[in-house]
């Protein structure tokens, strides 16, 4: 595997693990991290989170990564992967200006 591929996987897997741990802990989900596919739907079908759960997820992402989700949050919550994409974009943008996304 090329070094660039390895680096992309390491960066993504670290964010995925943090999000999964938060979801399981804060929502008391009866699953292990391995049980949660990154594309599982968070709203409606899939994990079936309600609006209060969704708020909890937004807060956990903001606290964990030091980002601001904002009003477009509902669209981000399509899956774990779409949250990860958002966090990685915020990290990249933050790094470009020397910011503090964790």
């Amino acid at each position: 595997m090329h070094a660039r591929t390895q680096s992309l996987i390491e960066t993504r897997s670290e964010v995925v693990a943090r999000i999964k741990r938060n979801l399981i802990t804060r929502l008391s989900l009866p699953y292990t991290e391995d049980d949660l596919h990154e594309d599982v739907s968070l709203l409606g079908s899939g994990l079936g989170l309600d609006s209060l759960d969704a708020l909890e997820v937004v807060l956990s992402v903001e606290q964990e990564f030091g980002v601001k989700v904002g009003d477009g949050g509902i669209g981000l919550l399509r899956s774990i992967n779409t949250i990860v994409d958002f966090v990685l974009e915020q990290k990249a943008a933050s790094a470009a200006i020397g910011g503090g996304v964790r």
Binding site: I9, D34, D35, S79, V84
Partner: protein, 365 residues
């Protein structure tokens, strides 16, 4: 082969017919893209005659069903619907199922990747009756799906939460309405007596006219499931069969003492899942993604394409690939080797766009 319960409408509408799960129903109406867009942008109506329907008294059936289906049927409350799966003794998927708990009866609606007889055999110990031949299932999907339902059944229907069921009446015809769907848009499944299916179908088309309703077929449904990231038992389900690499753990209650295939599924879960399904998309303009194609990463084969199609939402070909776990991540650049050559592809996060229904406020319509 059983005929569609709305066969006369399909013939008048010029549907191209296909066989699925022992049923003859519409593959498309001449323009799959237009049917897809009707569902993504307005409202579509699907005849789901391929769905197997079983029915039984709630009090008698709920616990026996709980011992068969992977989800927690026993905890299903009145008026609610459970989305779960049915597995065989080896823990391989047989059907993707909605189980709806009505006032007195429980409904089991199965999309199967195994013959009807196999599903019936697994349910043999449950006091449910196969009513597929006497029952029609009509699916209304799209960001405006609420429109014809509200006009026919009243505003209260807008208050139905996702995965709920209500009994309604349409000019004397009993209609079971499930707030459910597999397109990533708003959806309602209407369960009606087969003898009245044409009538209800016609009323839906009439009521839906001002909301832009269009009939859609199975070809569009497959594409809607694909880029809406809804499990398709007839595509990736049939190709993979094992619910764990398909990411269907959410359909399974691992705390339950028993369900069909439990031991096999738990053993595989304990051992670790070696491969996992991931979305992939070709570069814009690239064509030729095919099921069975080998997926290559940095020169090494790492997986296989198990489902694919044109995504109108992405405006490119996309698919689902079963990849080795260490490389089953979104955002990587792959190569897909097809009969016509190697195609550059990237793994993507699903669903890859925000469905229009997510921005609709039903309390404001």
């Amino acid at each position: 082969m059983r005929n569609s319960h709305v066969a006369s409408f399909l013939a008048r509408a010029g549907a191209m017919m296909t066989d699925r799960d022992g049923a003859n129903l519409a593959a498309h109406f001449g323009d799959v893209g237009a049917e897809y867009r009707a569902v993504r942008e307005a409202v579509g109506l699907l005849d789901a005659s391929h769905v197997l329907v079983f029915k039984g008294p709630v009090d008698d059936a709920i616990y026996p069903l709980d011992e068969v289906f992977a989800g927690n049927v026993a905890n299903l409350r009145y008026g609610r619907v459970l989305h779960t799966l049915l597995a065989d003794a080896e823990g391989m998927i047989v059907a993707d199922a909605y189980i709806a708990c009505g006032d007195e009866e429980i409904l089991v609606l199965c999309e199967a990747c195994a013959p009807r007889e196999d599903v019936a055999r697994l349910l043999a110990g449950c006091p449910v009756r196969d009513v597929t031949d006497e029952t029609a299932v009509l699916c209304v999907d799209g960001p405006k799906a609420w429109g014809p339902l509200r006009d026919l059944f009243g505003r209260d229907i807008l208050g139905m939460p996702y995965l709920s069921v209500e009994a309604h009446d349409l000019d004397g015809v009993p209609v079971g309405v499930l707030r459910a769907g597999k397109t990533a848009e708003f959806g309602y499944w209407l369960v009606v007596p087969a003898a009245d299916a044409d009538k209800v179908h016609g009323r839906l088309m009439d009521a839906g006219a001002r909301h832009g309703i269009a009939p859609y077929g199975l070809d569009a449904l497959d594409l809607l499931k694909l880029d809406g990231r809804f499990f398709n038992v007839n595509r990736e389900g049939r190709a993979v069969r094992d619910p764990l690499p398909l990411g269907l753990q959410w359909m399974i209650d691992f705390q339950k003492d028993g369900f069909s295939g439990r031991d096999a599924i738990l053993a595989r879960r304990e051992a670790g899942v070696p491969r996992k399904i991931v979305g992939i998309a070709l570069a814009a303009g690239a064509k030729g993604l095919a099921e069975g194609s080998t997926v290559v990463l940095d020169g090494d084969p790492v997986g296989t394409v198990v489902a694919c199609g044109w995504s109108d939402g992405l405006q490119r070909e996309m698919g689902l690939a079963l990849l080795d776990q260490p490389v089953a991540w979104s955002g990587l650049d792959f190569e897909v080797r097809t009969d016509s050559g190697a195609l550059p592809a990237r793994s993507i996060s699903l669903p890859p766009f925000v469905p229009a229904s997510l921005s609709v406020r039903l309390d404001e319509v």
